[in-house]
Amino acid sequence: VTTAPIRTELELGDLQGGILSAYGKMGFPKARYLLFHVDRSAAGRAFVEALRPKVTTALRWPSSKGISTGAVEVPRPDCTLNLAFTFWGLYALGVPTRTLRGMPDEFVDGMALRAPMLGDDILDNTPANWDPVWQPEREKPHILVMLNAKVDAAGHALPALDAMTAMVLKAAAATDGAVRLLEGHAGPDPRWQELSAIFADAPDGTRRALPTEHFGFVDAIGDPVFEGQYPGREEDLRAVGQGAMDGEGQWRPLATGEFILGWPDEAQEVAGAAMPLDFSRNGSFFAYRKLHQHVERWDQWVAERAKGLAATWEIADLAEAEALLKAKMCGRWPDGVPLLLAPTEADRQAFNARLKPGSPEWLAAITHFDYCDDVDGAKCPVTSHMRRANTRDMLDPLWDQPKKARMGSALNNRRRILRRGLPYGDRAAPDHDHGIVLLAHCANLFRQFEFVQQQWMNYGLDFNAGNDSCPVVGAHSPGARFVIAAPDASKPPFIASGLPQFVSTRGGDYFFAPSMTALRMIGQGVVDPT
């Protein structure tokens, strides 16, 4: 008889794809998101039923990493399809009142109503600046259809993307106008949101997708690891640096219920959810945030303040000062190496000489660190983007106690989000529509996404930094500044003042990505909450 607990095994065929890991990382660097409005429930359900057989699940495809795929192999598609719904979408589709009544307040409100909490009521974050399709006076989006596609050697999306788009539009057209495509996206095509990784020419003449965003940082490095997300030992390996940490530096995967509904969470309970339980189970909420990046402003400000940093810290090479300033703001060097492990440019080079960039060892190393040894932020400023987004053990009130008495990441474990999505737009294009569509997945938008956005991105009290907001993505009201602690006693701290707005909201909403079971119930109109 074994007393070891049974490991969480998610039924991958019941989860929608794109949640456990990002499509961009799985070889799908292009995407297209379409929004639909449903006028009649039956037509809406027919639309869902038409798309349901095409929905991509979380089942593992054959991969070069040798991860087992199960008895029946699912071929890797050229284009994936996923569905998500707003609260009013579920209402329009005829989901019963008792089920709807179990939905969380913030999901019922939708993102626009939460503007004061999210900082979307100030500066140029306000809905007046959003893409028309997201503006709160317009018809509400009900159904989000997400297509992710592979690319050819020239970096173009495979034809399957257009074919899948045509299939979706045909299914909507079959409802005689009862399911309507909502138009009004900024960008190349107002009918939908086009997304694409940033591409660069490879030496062999092909175009390859880069893992970077428009400010030049390698993105999506830190991502929570939770029970059931990866097979077996893979999960334990990845949990190091990405899961939850006890006071002694031991890592474990986070509880599944922090991201997937119907599973025990970090409070060691299965949180209440909309009934019946199999409607909510294996589903996930996410915040869709279209975030514009003011790249010219960013370049100018960084160049200007780097001069001040170079003068203050006596750095001869201005380019090095610029890289250092960016790294201090983000918490990582643009290539992803964290300041905690490589606080100077020389350290960064030594780090990359020791471990080959991109190798499994390097990837494991760049997430394996904690903050207790850098409490005052001498290496990595306490208000840098990375320390705010995932505070690890930084908020441990007993950080100065013996290891046995510490609390590790306890204050962080209930505030994690899975970051999905892709960049959009071309920073050189004249339409000035470029940034990132962030899909922030979690089990509780209020406790996880909204808390991180309000308290950690747009405020500084938890870091003893008063009103200072995140230097990269925070709301930069008049007087916004970024304080960089002195690296050692020989240098003064540097205050980078006059932060302009670098990242602004351009639209979005809160969505529910149901399981395949729930999708069937919604499509067939058989949700039974009794």
């Binding site: 626009a112 306000t126 709160p136 009201s477 008049p478």
Partner: protein, 332 residues
């Protein structure tokens, strides 16, 4: 217990709201609790949210420089949590009939609750409660009359001293105090089981020795009863020691009175700008600038310049404009 804690008075008041009908200024006949709630709802809050700032009205309590926090609300009834839990087997033995309703108490009327966190004055006999109440009356008499006028026993209160006496009469013990002015961990010394045990044994041994010396017993058999008496005395001493230590107020955080807190907020904000401005200054220029900073901000002067009570910043930076978002609520 913690009416006084951490250098502050934690004041809790329960004032009975008048019963009976009363004429609303608009002509309706209504209740005192209705009028009182309306009065409280119309009381401006401090300028700490976009809505409050836009009204250009300030909380009356921002006129008081000893009041950190003040809250007023009407309590109708305590929550009835259902029957007291009991063991069905015990009930069966005792013959309790679960069909017979358990009696439970209700409040006779709505009560006005006031809770406030106030700077203490150790030199005054009541730690400064009366002087605070008198100051509150002096600065907010109109509001206090409008609010407490709906409370039983307030009629006839017409002076600061009478108001202070009324508040004192309605004061109840604060059972949970809270303040957050300790920047680090307060210097509290905990007890360990070892120390408690050692103390118990020391008292027990002392008591035994004393009794042996006084009684001079003839037989060693007396040792056991004397040991028991000694241990009982030791245990009593331990309980008394822990109890009296537990009752001791939490130590006041340094400079946690309201004028000091406001001044430190002001200095902090100004200093942040100063530090930003003087980056790159040579030592002489920095020295001169710091002299000017000290002369301008006067860190030791609690009177001025300082942050006014009831606002969220005093660094001269314009507050960001908040735009109300008013989405379409008809959705389909």
């Amino acid at each position: 217990m913690p009416n006084i804690d951490g250098g502050h008075i934690f004041f809790t008041l329960l004032a009975p709201v008048k019963l009976g009908e009363v004429a609303h200024p608009d002509g309706r006949v209504t209740t005192h609790s209705h009028l009182l709630r309306e009065e409280l709802a119309n009381l401006p809050t401090a300028a700490q949210s976009p809505v409050a700032i836009d009204t250009n009205l300030q909380s009356p309590f921002a006129r008081c420089t000893r009041t950190h926090f003040l809250r007023l609300f009407v309590l109708d009834q305590p929550m009835f949590n259902g029957r007291d839990p009991s063991n069905p087997l015990v009930n069966a033995v005792k013959g309790v009939n679960p069909l017979v309703h358990q009696p439970f108490d209700v409040l006779s009327r709505p009560w006005l609750v006031m809770s406030a966190d106030v700077d203490r004055r150790p030199a005054e006999p009541d730690q400064g409660l009366a002087s605070w109440a008198e100051g509150l009356w002096t600065r907010t008499e109109a509001e206090m009359r409008a609010i407490f006028g709906h409370c039983h026993g307030f009629d006839g209160v017409g002076s600061a001293a009478a108001f202070a006496a009324y508040l004192k009469r309605c004061q109840v013990e604060t059972t949970m105090s809270f303040n957050d002015y300790w920047p680090g961990r307060p210097p509290l010394k905990g007890e360990s089981f070892g120390r408690i045990g050692a103390g118990l044994l020391a008292v027990a041994a002392g008591v035994m020795a004393l009794m042996w010396a006084v009684l001079k017993p003839a037989s060693m058999w007396w040792l056991l009863p004397l040991l028991l008496v000694g241990l009982a005395a030791g245990a009593a001493a331990v309980v008394w020691n822990l109890w009296s230590r537990g009752r001791r107020p939490f130590p006041p955080a340094p400079d946690s009175d309201l004028p000091s807190v406001l001044k430190s907020l002001h200095v902090q904000q100004r200093f942040a700008f100063f530090a930003e401005t003087v980056q790159g200054f040579d030592p002489q220029a920095l020295h001169r600038a710091f002299g000017e900073f000290l002369a301008g901000v006067r860190p030791g002067d609690l009177e001025s310049p300082t942050q006014m009570p009831g606002v969220i910043r005093s660094d001269g930076v314009a507050l960001v404009e908040h735009k109300a978002v008013d989405p379409k609520r008809v959705v389909l």
